[in-house]
């Protein structure tokens, strides 16, 4: 293998790819060739570094210098200055955001990383996900090798996972070792190991980032799981909407086969295991375990009652375990470093770390991994860098359409499975959306309910009909036609749906409404009684107005208005909106350079 003096890591996750990282790589290759550096400097395409907001990201080792917002035009300078002369390009080491100047200098990113601990994401951003050698070079497949070298029995593997305290990262938090033990106990000539990469939470991309950045860790873990429960076939069920993840997974499976890590007689142990990929087709309910298995079987993804549990009768009626991508990504590290090491991180009942996709109204949007027990405040203000434009924090939403909102008064909650449930939300799979004073909580509840109504599979009435009724009530309230009794009706329906639904989708569908009702009831009451949306989000309740004192009579707003309902005389008379014709598109507000148009 060639030795390179310098490695240039360039993120090729979805976010940075959209920001032209492929063009940057291409330019870099050309520049290296031009300067005769191709044998000295190696370009490594990696997965997500986590700092999505500041991409495309480039890191140069051994110095460890991180460049942000790199553009193809910057590459020449990086090559001539940094790679040739050893002078860092300071200009690109500074994060500059919007007008607020909220973030500055690379100190921000050190804060961003300081409170993080990367176990599941240990290789994301550090290795080329399309190279099995780099994975192995970073202790990859050592966990598996250790099992065979030390002649660990399947029971020993399960015991280690149980001891680690690892709980499912897909949302439910079920102890992984116990799940494996149930399946291992079943007598059957055929068993299956499945990986849930359906990632249904509509604002989250943790699992995709793991698959894009470190696919081999999932493969290694599935082989270990197969050995532990006595299965010889695995399936990864991944969303068809994730083309980069699917491609990298395919490459990784092929490489593992070539290296004798999949197939017959793995590492000379006599154990055989294979992995296939099955594509999901855009149905949220297929993230539910029984629905996922029906989908792999080629059926409609309707959930089926449990028991029988999949560990007894799962895919094709055979004993099956299903784990989430992130759950698997932890396993090789646990096998290698031991249960004690893993359980030394976290809280009493939640061990290790959790990955979150941090998004919404936050300065550092990105992918983060924190030890369990980190507080919400640390995530928002230290790692996340606070709220843009000096706005006030309102809430953090976790658990997606099954979860709830954590208000400002609970910012000091240490994040773990039990605390989040106590706070009226849940861990969920890892979506974490920050909301500021401009986010209307009634509207957010409606947003999630629209999602569940659309995604309900329709099998049982409380979920199918009940969620629709709840949505209708929320629509009525946000349009300004609500009455106080509607709020009671929402609560009554919520209980009925939670208790009468067959699967987790219906059982948790009312959560976003219940949690916002509990924490932000005054906003509901305002919508209903005062007919007011304090955030100016609910169109039925807002009106656009021009403050005549501020109006400079430039007429720009009138030009943009699609319904021609703004009138005035250029330079002479302030402009006015005819509210009866206004369709509340907001174009005038965007057009006005003088902040004369307001929403009330």
């Amino acid at each position: 293998m060639d030795l390179y003096r310098t490695h240039v890591l360039i993120c090729s996750g979805t976010n940075c790819t959209a920001l032209q990282s492929p063009q940057i790589i291409e330019t870099m290759e050309k520049q290296l060739k031009r300067h005769g550096l191709s044998n000295e400097v190696k370009i490594v395409q990696t997965g997500c570094f986590g700092l999505c907001d500041d991409g495309p990201i480039m890191v140069v080792y051994p110095e460890g210098v991180m460049y942000y917002h790199v553009q193809p035009d910057d590459v020449a300078e990086i090559v001539t200055e940094h790679l040739l002369k050893g002078r860092f390009v300071k200009r690109l080491m500074t994060i500059q955001t919007s007008a607020t100047g909220g973030k500055n200098y690379s100190a921000e990113s050190s804060k961003f990383f300081a409170k993080q601990l990367r176990i599941a994401l240990r290789n994301c951003g550090n290795i080329n996900p399309e190279s099995i050698d780099e994975y192995i070079g970073n202790d990859g497949y050592f966990g598996l090798a250790k099992i065979f070298r030390e002649k660990m029995k399947p029971e020993d593997v399960i015991e280690e996972i149980k001891m680690s305290g690892l709980r499912g990262r897909g949302g439910g938090g079920f102890p992984t070792g116990l799940k494996w033990e149930f399946a291992a106990r079943q007598q059957s000539e055929q068993k299956y190991v499945c990986c849930n990469a359906d990632e249904g939470d509509p604002g989250a991309f943790m699992d995709r980032s793991v698959l894009e950045g470190d696919p081999h860790s999932v493969i290694e873990a599935m082989i270990i799981a197969g050995y532990a429960i006595g299965a010889d076939q695995g399936y990864v069920y991944v969303r068809a909407e994730y083309p980069i993840a699917i491609e990298r997974l395919k490459i990784a499976i092929e490489q593992a086969k070539q290296y004798g890590l999949l197939g017959n007689d793995i590492l000379g142990s006599g154990f055989a295991f294979d992995i296939g990929i099955r594509l999901g087709a855009g149905a949220f309910v297929c993230g539910e375990e029984t629905a996922l298995m029906r989908s792999i079987e080629g059926k409609r993804g309707n959930p089926t009652p449990r028991p029988p549990f999949p560990a007894v009768k799962g895919l094709f009626d055979k004993p099956t375990i299903l784990n989430n991508v992130e759950t698997y990504a932890n396993i090789p590290a646990i096998m290698l470093k031991g249960a004690d090491w893993f359980s030394s991180y976290g809280t009493s009942r939640s061990k290790g770390t959790k990955v979150f996709a941090l998004g919404g109204k936050i300065n550092n949007v990105g992918l983060i991994e924190i030890p369990m027990g980190t507080t919400v405040r640390e995530v928002v203000y230290d790692i996340g860098g606070g709220i843009p434009d000096n706005k006030a924090f309102k809430a953090v939403q976790t658990g997606g359409p099954s979860g709830g909102c954590i208000p400002a008064s609970m910012l000091d909650t240490p994040i773990d499975y039990d605390n989040l449930i106590e706070a009226g939300s849940m861990m969920g799979s890892g979506g974490m959306i920050v909301m500021d004073e401009d986010t209307c909580m009634v509207d957010i509840a409606k947003f999630f309910l629209e999602f569940t109504v659309e995604e309900s599979c329709g099998k049982c009435a409380p979920c199918r009909i009940g969620t629709r009724r709840m949505l209708e009530i929320l629509e009525k309230i946000t349009e300004g036609n609500g009455i106080l009794k509607d709020i009671d009706d929402l609560e009554r329906l919520a209980v009925a749906i939670r208790e009468g639904s067959l699967c987790g989708l219906g059982q948790t569908a009312p959560n976003p409404v219940l949690s916002t009702l509990k924490r932000f009831r005054e906003e509901y009451v305002e919508h209903v009684v005062d007919k007011k949306c304090r955030c100016g989000v609910c169109k039925g309740l807002t009106q656009y107005e021009i403050i005549s004192d501020l109006c400079k009579m430039c007429g720009l707003c009138a030009k943009r208005c699609p319904t021609n309902c703004i009138s005035g005389v250029l330079g002479k008379e302030p402009f006015v909106i005819d509210k009866s014709q206004c369709i509340k598109c907001g174009a005038c507000m965007q057009a006005c350079k003088f902040k004369a148009v307001v929403k009330r």
Binding site: C52, G203, R208, G298, Q397, F447, C585, A587, Q590
Partner: protein, 163 residues
């Protein structure tokens, strides 16, 4: 601007037949894969395609139809040459995706899930495309547009109208 190349109907049927032959006789367990590949070559899954698939796997057309309509990824209607997907994931929604979607709708005069008369554009609402750092996000075919405001939409669409 890149638009998907148009194959003739015969070319598509030819490709479709190849895909179907690959899975022929393997039954229900390959239905999803076959439908996915069939849609990739044919663009959508009309009744004529459903019949061919049902026949190849020895299933009823009703069952094939049932599976297609369950999954939002499968389409019974043709999609536009340019597929516009506005991300309505939570991160994008909180940052104003609704206004972006409204603008696309008003610019093209069609609703989500519809296709313009000339077949040039169709609008889809999708969930998190994994680029939350750029929210709000829209994709046209393979191209991602981020940090959008509604007033950028006409200009972006214009590029595809010309092509």
């Amino acid at each position: 601007m890149a638009t998907t190349t148009r194959l003739t109907h015969d070319e598509k049927i030819n490709k479709l037949n190849k895909v179907i032959d690959k899975y022929r006789g393997q039954g229900r367990k390959v239905l999803m894969q076959l439908l996915q590949e069939a849609q990739a070559v044919y663009g959508y899954l009309p009744l004529e395609v459903q019949r061919m698939v049902a026949d190849a796997l020895d299933l009823s057309v009703a069952e094939v139809y049932g599976v297609i309509t369950f999954y939002s990824f499968f389409s019974l209607n043709p999609k536009g040459d340019n597929q516009i997907s506005v991300c309505m994931g939570t991160a994008c929604y909180v940052k104003g995706a609704q206004a972006v979607l409204d603008k696309v709708i008003s610019e093209l005069g069609i609703q989500v899930g519809e296709c313009t008369q000339d077949g040039r554009f169709s609008i889809h609402a999708c969930r998190c495309v994994g680029a939350c750092g750029l929210a709000p996000v829209m994709m046209i075919n393979e191209n991602v547009y981020g940090r959008l405001t509604p007033d950028q939409i006409p200009e972006i669409l214009a590029k595809y109208k010309e092509a």
